[in-house]
């Protein structure tokens, strides 16, 4: 494999990184603002996949299905926050972790109940399935879409956080929830909104994944580990860090698989373990 095609492969695998990023973003937001480690995050991601599958099969409209899947997943997240998570804020972190773990169990089984134990898959819609040629390099529209979506989300998040009033309030709650409350910021509402958004983002990621791989039970169990690892390597508070790490993970895991096939899954865990051992606050973390 010559260098250019190698690089092109890497570039194309940005889409994998982008998907990891979309998965991680929601987790970072929820952890940063609500201070809860959401064990159910990957389960929501997969819920997005299943919902996308159902709606696309019925409507054949990609965009509409995507939006519906996102919103429903987000709504589910908000419901979980209101009914369950709210009650565990006052408890120790362990109990919060375990509560979200319980939610993950329920979500996984509910998926099996509704959609069965098999896998679901949809084919990339016609318009997006076409490829484009850039002087010898062929890029698939869909892949490009994902990469662009990831980038836009990153920019949007940064802009939102730093340049909007709600973003400012959210950052305030992130930094100091007690003080924010004292200043009159409706922290409760922000918690619910962040949960909604974070979960909706997970749903988005899952929805975008369905045309690419077959989604089935067990995927959530696998993804949650990757999601945690990305967020922890990046550093539990860092959004930019999460983007960078997620992209790198996506790109390099694909490349490494080509070079050393035996190591694919292990390499991520090993890198994570090494980084955590020497820089426990992650590469970009603040806490």
């Amino acid at each position: 494999m010559d260098l250019t095609s190698f690089l092109v492969q890497g570039l194309i695998n940005l889409y994998k990184g982008s998907l990891y990023w979309i998965l991680a973003l929601g987790l970072v937001l929820i952890f940063g603002v609500v201070r809860v480690i959401n064990f159910a995050h990957a389960a929501f991601y997969v819920t997005g996949s299943y919902l996308m599958y159902t709606f696309y099969t019925y409507t054949s409209n990609f965009i509409v299905s995507l939006i519906i899947a996102m919103i429903i997943t987000g709504a589910l997240g908000a419901i979980v926050e209101i009914t369950i998570i709210r009650r565990v804020y006052k408890l120790e972190t362990i109990y919060q972790l375990l509560a979200t773990f319980g939610v993950a169990l329920i979500a996984n089984e509910a998926q099996k109940l509704i959609w069965g134990k098999g896998v679901v898959y949809i084919s990339i819609p016609e318009t997006l399935g076409r490829s484009v040629d850039f002087g010898g390099i062929t890029i698939n529209y869909y892949v490009a879409l994902i990469i662009v979506t990831g980038l836009l989300l990153f920019i949007a998040t940064i802009v939102f956080m730093n340049y909007t009033i709600t973003g400012l309030r959210t950052r305030a709650v992130w930094r100091d929830p007690v003080m924010s409350e004292a200043l009159g910021i409706n922290t409760r509402l922000i918690y619910t909104l962040v949960f909604f958004t974070g979960t909706a983002l997970a749903g988005l990621g899952g929805a975008l994944t369905v045309p690419l791989i077959s989604v089935g039970p067990g995927l959530a169990d696998y993804l949650i580990v990757t999601a945690f690892i990305i967020v922890v390597i990046a550093g539990l508070g860092s959004i930019t860090g999460a983007y960078i790490v997620a992209i790198l993970v996506g790109v390099f895991s694909s490349i490494l698989v080509l070079i050393v096939p035996e190591l694919d899954i292990v390499i991520l865990y090993i890198i994570a373990a090494l980084i955590l051992l020497f820089r426990p606050h992650g590469l970009f973390g603040e806490r």
């Binding site: 509560a99 580990v225 292990v266 865990y269 373990a273 955590l276």
Partner: protein, 327 residues
Amino acid sequence: MYMLRRLRALIDGNIIALLLLIGLLGLISFTGHRFYMYIATLIMIFGIFAMGYNILFGYAGLLSFGHGLFFGVGAYSVALFTLNVYRDPLVGVLFSIPIALLTSIIVGILTLKHGRVYFAILTLALSMIFWSALVKLRWLTGGSDGLVGIPKRGVHVDLSAPTVFYYFTLVFFAAIMLGLYVLNKSRYGLLLRALGTNEDRLPFLGYSTFTLRMIALTISGVVSALAGALYAVFYSVVTPDVAYWTFGAEPLVMSLIGGSSYFLGPLVGAIIFVSLTTTVARFAEYWMFLLGAALIAMILFFRGGLLGFLESLVGRFKLGVYLRWRF
């Protein structure tokens, strides 16, 4: 006189309940009823796993998602040892102890210097690394198919008869449970309980929290590995699933169900969990759903687990004085 007082201090509701349970388990073998013996064996194995897990979780306050690693180390070391080195299940099980000890120490050095959240995630990562290794190193571990043919009949013992194997397991179970009981009452038990209660004060009393955590992890790891070793001989087969993090979450769930603040909590949880999975699960296919709901309900309302709930019913006097060692 003093000896009698020491002895009296050693006895409480826990040891009585434990001895009764061991007696009951012994009786089951006399019925010769295959299914009961099957369930009882699983209860003993997972009881050991959960009790071992809780030494780290309930006592020392460290949440681990990686105990599948220790269980797997125990299981695979028995398998590899009996299949390649020396064909005897008893020696194999005993062999898993030093291996588990070594693993625990290594894991401890790598993970115990960090805060509790990072510890949880690190153990998760380590267990998944182990799982990946088990799957990838086909030539050694049999890959995803695992290793088969772990012998029950060996040079020194013949465990092929179900009753014999049952007693074999029962002996280990009784020994480990009694050992944990003595630990609970001993000075180390006190230190570990202190660790879980108020870790930050301990250095000011002159203790190294790292050393105490290491002690907890080592005991927890070795006991969990023994559970894995017994599991391997019981089924004669080991597969990588036991190292996947979702399997390692089971002793956590068991400890919570029974009540992680109670000495017998994890064992009670194991009894419930195993009984339900082997009986009800056949009929209610999606029982995990109920488990998730039960878990949430418990966290919201019954943080003390089943024993905690019973205690609140019966009142502190009776149950509390005897079974509770912390809130």
